[in-house]
């Protein structure tokens, strides 16, 4: 067994780092679209609007019940064959769409659980002082649910960052795609993928640190 080619790995770092903005960008876009969608679905699931509830449940069930990779292929390769408008969609857009829908389904369920978790008596207190349903949700229930849901939602963001690597299968040259191309030229597969792995790891670890600090902040009002 030969040793690792450290010089090659060091040289590869800036190349891969150059794709970090795309990775973060796709995950952030996915999060920005997924969050409101998940929030709406969660509120709907709590309110259980007739008919709409059926669609939301179906949506959540489908996007949680099938692999992200399959969903991405459906959007990128499948949909254009059925709906011609989708032909113009590029890999990045398809990836963001897939990430959005997939993760919004998971996030809707955690937000729903967080909403339901807000002590029933506070809902009643809000009603008893004459708040409308909307006032109660906006001022009392959702802020507390957000606090409970935030750590979980950050977990999904972290998961989403890692899942952007699947965009590689749609022909997007992101971190993973770049590493694959480099490795194909040098045949140093282990080195190339190790560099990618470490960069992902550092990104995720920094976010986890941020997450723990945020949790302390969010819990401050509730500390005894």
């Amino acid at each position: 067994m030969q040793g690792l080619d450290f010089d090659y790995m060091l040289g590869l770092v800036p190349v891969i780092l150059g794709y970090v903005p795309l990775t973060i960008g796709m995950a952030t876009a996915g999060m920005v679209f997924a969050l409101p969608l998940a929030g709406l679905m969660a509120v709907e699931r709590v309110a259980q609007v007739p008919v709409l509830d059926l669609f939301v449940r179906l949506f959540i069930s489908f996007f949680r019940g099938t692999p992200l990779l399959v969903q991405l292929f459906l959007f990128y390769f499948g949909l254009p064959q059925v709906i011609s408008a989708f032909i113009v969609i590029n890999g990045v857009t398809a990836a963001i769409m897939g990430l959005t829908l997939h993760f919004s389904a998971y996030m809707a369920e955690s937000i729903r659980a967080a909403i339901v978790g807000v002590d029933r008596s506070q809902w009643e207190a809000a009603r008893s002082i004459g708040m409308t349903q909307g006032q109660m949700m906006r001022r009392i229930v959702l802020p507390q649910a957000a606090r409970v849901a935030t750590p979980t939602l950050l977990n999904y963001f972290i998961d989403m960052i890692k899942s952007t690597s699947l965009a590689f299968t749609l022909g997007v040259t992101e971190m993973m795609g770049a590493a694959q191309k480099e490795a194909a030229g040098s045949f140093l597969y282990f080195e190339a993928f190790l560099v990618v792995a470490v960069i992902y790891w550092i990104m995720v670890e920094s976010l986890s640190q941020l997450q723990s600090r945020l949790e302390v902040r969010l819990g401050r009002a509730y500390a005894r």
Binding site: D119, Q122, A125, I129, M131, Y222
Partner: protein, 247 residues
């Protein structure tokens, strides 16, 4: 003047309120007593539609709400004429003591913030919690939380204040301060409907005591009459058991 007619509430096949009729005069302080599970809390909760009655008419001032045809707007209007004090305080955990009081004033009654805060601070002083204005509920004792809960209800200047066993969740050491605050509320001739097991307190402040059993009013009258010479065997039996428990 508050008028209730034929208030009925069923949970499944169990009738919890069986056609309650009740007239409450302005400034009248009524205490409802009776064994557990006889519909005392449900009566209070139906009066502001936290539980939707199956039948009945509630009239508060010029507002009349018929449970059969109650609209959202009517229910909201009814809730805005009443205030509710919960057994488990039910403070908003994401709001400080002061904010728990101002919330209804700014959001529901649309008072200017400064005015709402001035009213909240006056109430906090009255409840002896001026130094806790910025504390979150989690940092307060049970007694302090319930005093904020009562303060929140006081701030509404409601036509009717409903108290649902306000001292039942409290450690014994906090019961006194909460009852003391309720005495002060009563002294202002605030119209109150109180469900409690504090018989001594009921004797002191009530204009009228209602004994409830099986979803009905069995007997009612001035405290002296109910406590000294109850007419119904069920009232006598209940009072005997309560006084044995107390000693």
């Amino acid at each position: 003047m508050i008028t209730v007619r034929g208030l009925t509430k069923r949970f499944g096949s169990t009738t919890v309120l069986d056609g309650i009729d009740l007239d409450i005069g302005e400034g009248e302080r009524i205490v409802v007593i009776g064994p557990s599970g006889t519909g005392k809390s449900t009566l209070l909760r139906c009066l502001n539609f936290l539980d939707h009655p199956n039948a009945g008419i509630i009239r508060v001032g010029d507002l009349e709400v018929n449970s059969a045809s109650a609209t959202k707007a009517q229910i909201l209007a009814l809730r805005r004429k009443t205030a509710f004090v919960f057994q488990n305080y039910a403070l908003f955990a994401n709001r400080t003591a002061r904010q728990n009081i101002t919330e209804a004033l700014t959001v529901v009654q649309k008072l200017p913030r400064a005015e709402a805060e001035a009213r909240a601070d006056a109430i906090l002083r009255e409840t002896g919690l001026a130094d806790k204005a910025d504390a979150y509920p989690a940092a307060l004792s049970g007694g302090q939380q319930q005093r904020v809960g009562i303060g929140r209800a006081m701030a509404l200047n409601a036509e009717l204040m409903l108290f649902d066993e306000p001292t039942s969740s409290l450690d014994p050491e906090w019961v006194g301060e909460v009852l003391e605050l309720m005495r002060r509320v009563a002294a202002r001739r605030q119209t109150m409907l109180i469900v409690t097991h504090e018989m001594q307190f009921a004797r002191e402040i009530a204009d009228r005591v209602i004994f409830m059993d099986g979803g009905r009013f069995v007997e009612q009258g001035p405290p002296d009459q109910i406590f000294q010479s109850p007419q119904d065997a069920r009232t006598r039996d209940f009072l005997r058991r309560v006084s044995t428990d107390a000693t």
